[in-house]
């Protein structure tokens, strides 16, 4: 009896060890968003990177952190919406690249002005492979900005596909703009404007 118990204990622990990582591996959406946010805050508030010479390196580091959390393809697909299906694979690739750069640049500019704002994680809703992480940013001007990250599970990771700031969805906003440009002129015109904006 004691022998059996002795045998069972390691097996039990082995099972525990084996199964627990499966549950917690990818983390929750909040953990994912928090992980990236903390990384970016660490980069932005790093005094070593604050000098003008290090600006390039800082941008590169932020870009790397953002890249692994944002799903550029999903974002592009949702922004182009019904125009997405009409594009060739080559065009899709080009668009993902351009749009990703535009978003990165916008995000970089917003993040660069970071001055000790507090980020509070308010709520999280998970629905299958979709999730929403609600965040509140408290600025030094005593205003609260509510931000919602919409995430979708890809493999083991939760990747961001839309950000809503005070109820204004970034993707919806771009969709309206892009649709208007495509309808009034053409897709070529849109790509031209995107290139111009990104400075390529």
């Amino acid at each position: 009896m004691t022998f059996r118990r002795l045998m069972m204990t390691p097996i039990f622990f082995f099972i525990l060890l084996f199964f627990s990582p499966v549950v917690s591996f990818g983390g929750t959406p909040t953990e994912s968003v928090k992980d990236t946010t903390d990384k970016i805050i660490a980069i932005v508030s790093d005094p070593v990177l604050k000098t003008p010479e290090k600006k390039e390196e800082k941008a590169r580091l932020i870009r790397a952190a953002v890249d692994e959390r944002f799903n550029w393809k999903e974002m592009s697909r949702r922004t182009l919406a019904r125009h997405w299906a009409k594009r060739t694979d080559q065009e899709k690739k080009e668009f993902i690249d351009l749009f990703g750069k535009l978003l990165e640049r916008t995000y970089l500019e917003r993040v660069e002005g970071y001055s000790g704002e507090k980020v509070l994680y308010i709520n999280e809703v998970v629905d299958g492979k979709y999730g929403i992480v609600s965040v509140k940013i408290v600025t030094e001007k005593d205003t609260e900005i509510s931000v919602r990250y919409k995430v979708k599970k890809k493999g083991e990771n939760w990747l961001v596909y839309d950000i809503s700031i005070e109820g204004v969805s970034l993707i919806n906003n771009y969709r309206k703009q892009f649709n208007s440009i495509i309808v009034r002129s053409s897709y070529k015109e849109l790509v031209g404007k995107l290139r111009e904006k990104v400075g390529k």
């Binding site: 535009l102 005593d142 919409k150 809503s164 204004v168 919806n172 703009q177 892009f178």
Partner: protein, 335 residues
């Protein structure tokens, strides 16, 4: 008329002369009626607090996130149209009731999502998102664009330089306090909007906020109510009240000096002019305009960079502004 004069004579006669003599409220406020007004306000806020439930929930409180979230999906979420039908259906027939029980016993918080995702392909889920939001009509686009450019130039050539100059003179603390002061003055707009929408707790919060911030917060310079009592500002206005009663937005409008709004919003602004205490405090147009400009410059100095960011990030700033305004408005109305 001074306070002494007012109090020495017959109060009713005094009030009548004041009411007949001028259209301002300031003089009548200094007399005996001030007691009645405050007594009424106190009674009113007490009653509304009792009516609306005394416990004031903090904004962080999470109660059944799933259901609060489906509401949000009706406007912006990825699975919008399907949600309502699938939630409503199981209660219908006997079989459905059994199904509902079954789903309930499984304790699946999101029972309706599975079939939908199977039907819906990967490529299609943007459709709901696009259709869920009925677009805001913009028949006056050429005019709106012209006014948009006017406001754009007004900002870059006048408001922004003045705001930057102002920023260097006044410290952040002072500017935030001045913003709080003007925001505190606008209490009647928010309280009445809450009242008209039946948000009695909101009315109570607004009146309490006004009393606390005006007294303990030094005439509203400090937002004590939010910090100490956890009573945040109730973001309501008459435009949202009209929306609450099912009045549509009409169409998009950009007005010179005033910025983006809708036909409904413009009507709301018209009504709010009567609720704005600044209109009653100043008899002349000049000091009113001065106070208003001061408020605008002060608030602009706190928001420098926001418009630039929007403009910088967009390919068509006019459309970006129109959509951002509309999405923001929808989220305000939803609350």
């Amino acid at each position: 008329m001074t306070v002494l004069e007012c109090c020495s004579g017959d109060p009713v006669a005094n009030r009548n002369t004041v009411l007949m003599g001028g259209h301002t409220l300031t003089h009548s406020l200094t007399g005996v009626p001030v007691f009645f007004i405050f007594a009424f306000l106190f009674l009113f806020f007490w009653l509304s607090l009792a009516w609306g439930g005394v416990e004031i929930s903090s904004p962080v409180k999470v109660e059944n996130p799933y259901y609060s979230n489906t509401e949000a999906h009706e406007i912006t979420g990825p699975h919008s149209t399907g949600d309502r039908f699938l939630i409503g259906e199981p209660v219908g027939s006997g079989l459905d009731l059994k199904m509902a029980d079954l789903q309930g016993s499984q304790k699946d918080p999101l029972p309706d999502k599975e079939p939908e995702e199977q039907v819906q392909g990967e490529e299609e889920d943007w459709m709901d998102e696009e259709d869920a939001q009925s677009p805001l009509p913009d028949p006056l686009e050429p005019m709106n664009r012209a006014f948009y450019h006017f406001n754009d130039k007004l900002y870059f050539w006048f408001l922004k330089p003045v705001g930057i100059g102002y920023e260097t003179v006044f410290p952040l603390f002072a500017r935030v306090s001045i913003r709080n002061f003007f925001s505190n003055l606008m209490m009647p707009v928010r309280a009445i909007s809450c009242l008209l929408q039946g948000k009695f707790k909101g009315v109570g919060i607004e009146l309490t906020r006004f009393m606390v911030n005006t007294s303990a917060g030094f005439f509203g310079l400090q937002d004590v109510a939010k910090i100490a009592l956890d009573m945040p500002l109730q973001d309501e206005d008459l435009g949202q009240t009209l929306a609450f009663y099912g009045i549509g937005p009409g169409f998009y409008l950009t007005l010179p000096f005033l910025g983006p709004t809708t036909l409904r919003g413009a009507v709301g602004w018209g009504g709010q002019a009567f609720l704005n205490p600044l209109n009653y405090i100043f008899e002349d147009w000049f000091p009113y305009l001065f106070a208003r400009s001061f408020e605008i410059v002060n608030n602009t100095s706190l928001r420098i960079g926001e418009y630039e960011a929007l403009k910088e990030a967009s390919l068509d700033p006019y459309i970006a502004m129109r959509d951002a305004f509309y999405q923001y408005r929808l989220s305000q109305i939803e609350k």
